[in-house]
């Protein structure tokens, strides 16, 4: 029987990751998937109005967020960033509380729709719904760090559909001009709601655009968290060295419909939808960990049981939290209330 001592490297040791850290990356992916699946269950049970999913993106999000320093670096995420937010500090209970729009939700106190990640306490910038705006906010953080001379790295994540927004171009161009400490992460799942990549992206690559901005653009297999980690760590090092931005395009799959209001069977071939499961990063990574002797079935079962228990307990606590008080609905328009 394989055990950890006899395990072979998946290349992670060369990246400076221990065997335990690799299993922890896997566990973080499991947590994200567990919360995500619970959101869909709660939506179908009528407890949550809307779900927008990160399923299929977990390998990229956990791997890429892993080098980011919690409560020190900054992140401007997007609506699929459930695993990124968890990796960067948000708790399972934070995420579920936000989806339930409870009064003490750390993201918005129940003011924003589900999937609008953000929390000042974790250096995660509050997200809106018009896509691409957040990329400029990460650049603004990086500009602030650069002006002050601080060792801080900002990251922004977005989809390949959003990559076409003018604000994303403006953000990357400006970051390139001043070599700002920022990492741009495009999670390319091939669909902008219903419109496929070849109707969204001229040239079919987002990463190659980086050349025009004067910084590296790399394409990585988003189902491989270690490849994503390697790219992100290099990008993080570059930023800290003062060498400027990096654009990482992670090729991922969208395992679910765009959102709970969408049905992807209307625009995706049934065979294509069926084949998505073969690209599930959780399955692929678990298989690789098993083959390398880093994960055994009993350990996997224990991890899954732990995650299930964590999600169950967090859900119960979140559901017990109070709804927002209508008397607070006019607060926080301005700092000096009443103006």
């Amino acid at each position: 029987m394989a055990n950890v001592k006899q395990a072979t490297s998946l290349g992670h040791r060369e990246l400076g990751l221990t065997d335990e850290q690799v299993v922890e990356i896997y566990r973080q992916m499991l947590v994200a998937r567990g919360v995500d699946e619970r959101m869909w269950l709660m939506q179908r049970a009528g407890k949550i109005a809307f779900v927008i999913s990160g399923q299929g993106h977990e390998g990229a999000q956990v791997g890429i967020t892993w080098p980011m320093r919690r409560n020190h670096d900054w992140m401007a995420p997007y609506y699929r960033s459930i695993a990124s937010a968890l990796t960067f500090g948000m708790t399972v209970e934070d995420i579920i509380t936000a989806h339930l729009a409870k009064g003490d939700d750390v993201s918005s106190g129940g003011r924003q729709m589900p999937g609008h990640y953000g929390a000042a306490k974790y250096n995660i910038i509050s997200l809106s719904s018009p896509v691409g705006t957040q990329v400029l906010h990460a650049v603004g953080i990086a500009m602030g760090a650069w002006v002050r001379g601080d060792d801080v790295v900002a990251m922004s994540t977005f989809g390949e559909g959003t990559a076409n927004q003018g604000e994303v171009h403006e953000a990357m161009n400006f970051a390139g001009v001043h070599r700002l400490p920022v990492i741009f992460v495009c999670e390319n799942n091939g669909y902008a709601i219903s419109v496929p990549l070849d109707k969204q992206v001229g040239g079919l690559s987002v990463a190659t655009r980086a050349q025009g901005y004067g910084f590296p653009g790399v394409t990585v297999d988003g189902s491989d968290p270690l490849a994503c980690y390697a790219a992100a760590r290099e990008a993080h090092d570059r930023a800290r060295r003062g060498d400027g931005p990096t654009l990482i395009e992670a090729k991922v799959v969208r395992l679910t419909s765009h959102s709970s209001d969408d049905d992807q069977r209307r625009y995706r071939d049934p065979a294509e939808v069926e084949a998505l499961k073969e690209h599930d990063p959780l399955v692929l990574f678990a298989n690789r960990l098993r083959e390398a002797g880093l994960l055994t079935d009993p350990v996997d079962e224990r991890l899954r049981a732990e995650v299930k228990a964590e999600v169950n307990e967090a859900s119960q606590r979140a559901e017990a939290r109070p709804d927002p008080d209508v008397a607070t609905a006019e607060l926080h328009v301005y700092a000096d209330e009443g103006t």
Binding site: W74, G144, E170, F174
Partner: protein
């Protein structure tokens, strides 16, 4: 006490705030070595360097969005839109993001930042260098909107805006930049963003205005006093959002007649809000119709000088409107 014009006063305000607080920075197009297309930041690049007085690419959304990120990070950015007319690429950032951040984060993220915007016509700038587009921003909850009409207010309000914990849209009428000099108090002169100012007391009617219209209204008031014996009270709103209702209502309650004046077009303009406020809250004190004098209903200021003169409000047009109202 220094004699400054409005442009010099704004520059002095920024200079003092940058000296006082290392978190204050300026970003915009041509704000660095050139000192801004109007000269508002002249000399500041040499004094504070090219990080704190930062020339940006020609990307207004970036200017606003990066300023917002920097404000989250703890800086106090002053972003310059070269002309208010060019702010629309930044509209998404200003309206979707900057105005809503505090509310949508339940108070967790505040944005201490200023967006300076030269606005207004009368400078041969035609449709795209002359707009008075303050209404888009006064209609946006979460923004504060300021429009000074004197050098002392320009400096004092600029300094207060930099120190404000919320985003302030700072409208500077281009025609006023070098129009006149006036005394600006020495020292740390801060005009709290809060109150309108009675620029000229009067008993017969109230002229409610801001920016360049203060200058025009004061001149009109002199003519009315001299030629008609009508004593007009000129109220400079200074801050458009939130509106100083108390000063507006106090003046109209006293005079019984309200003339609201702005260069922006009438339909749904900021004056409509002022007029509605007066109609709702001072109805029983009114002795004539709440009247608006505003720019014409055309999409912009036409270029050729006689066309531009036709467009622009001026003291004579204010006198004419005031005479009609005073006759009630």
């Amino acid at each position: 006490m220094a004699e400054l014009n409005i442009l010099e006063a704004i520059r002095a305000g920024m200079d003092e705030e940058m000296e006082r607080d290392p978190n204050v920075m300026i970003l915009g197009e041509d704000v660095g070595k050139k000192g801004g297309v109007f000269g508002a930041t002249d000399g500041l690049w040499a004094k504070y360097g090219d990080k704190r007085v930062l020339d940006t690419p020609l990307t207004e959304a970036m200017i606003a969005g990066a300023a917002m990120g920097a404000a989250i990070y703890g800086l106090r950015p002053i972003a310059e839109m070269q002309f208010a007319d060019f702010a629309y690429p930044a509209f998404n950032q200003i309206v979707s993001e900057i105005s809503r951040m505090r509310y949508r984060s339940n108070g967790a993220f505040g944005l201490p930042m200023v967006i300076r915007m030269p606005y207004g016509g009368g400078v041969h700038g035609a449709l795209y260098h002359s707009q008075s587009n303050e209404t888009y921003f006064t209609a946006t909850v979460g923004l504060k909107v300021v429009a000074p009409g004197t050098p002392a207010d320009a400096k004092g309000l600029l300094k207060a805006s930099v120190r404000d914990p919320d985003p302030v849209m700072f409208f500077e009428h281009k025609k006023t930049y070098r129009l006149f000099k006036a005394e600006v108090p020495d020292g740390d002169h801060v005009v709290p963003i809060g109150s309108a100012e009675v620029a000229r007391p009067g008993k017969d009617l109230s002229i409610l205005c801001y920016g360049y219209m203060r200058y025009c209204a004061l001149e009109a008031a002199e003519t009315l006093a001299r030629e008609d014996g009508v004593e007009a009270e000129v109220v400079d709103l200074r801050r458009l959002r939130p509106l100083d209702r108390a000063t507006v209502l106090g003046s109209v309650t006293k005079t019984g007649k309200a003339l609201v004046v702005h260069e922006a077009n009438r339909f749904g303009g900021f004056g409509a809000e002022v007029a509605a406020t007066i109609a709702e809250e001072a109805f029983e004190h009114l002795d004539g119709p709440v009247t608006r004098l505003a720019g014409p209903e055309v999409p912009g200021v036409p270029f050729q000088h006689t066309l531009e003169d036709w467009f622009m409000l001026n003291p004579a047009k204010i006198v004419e409107a005031a005479r009609k109202l005073a006759a009630y």
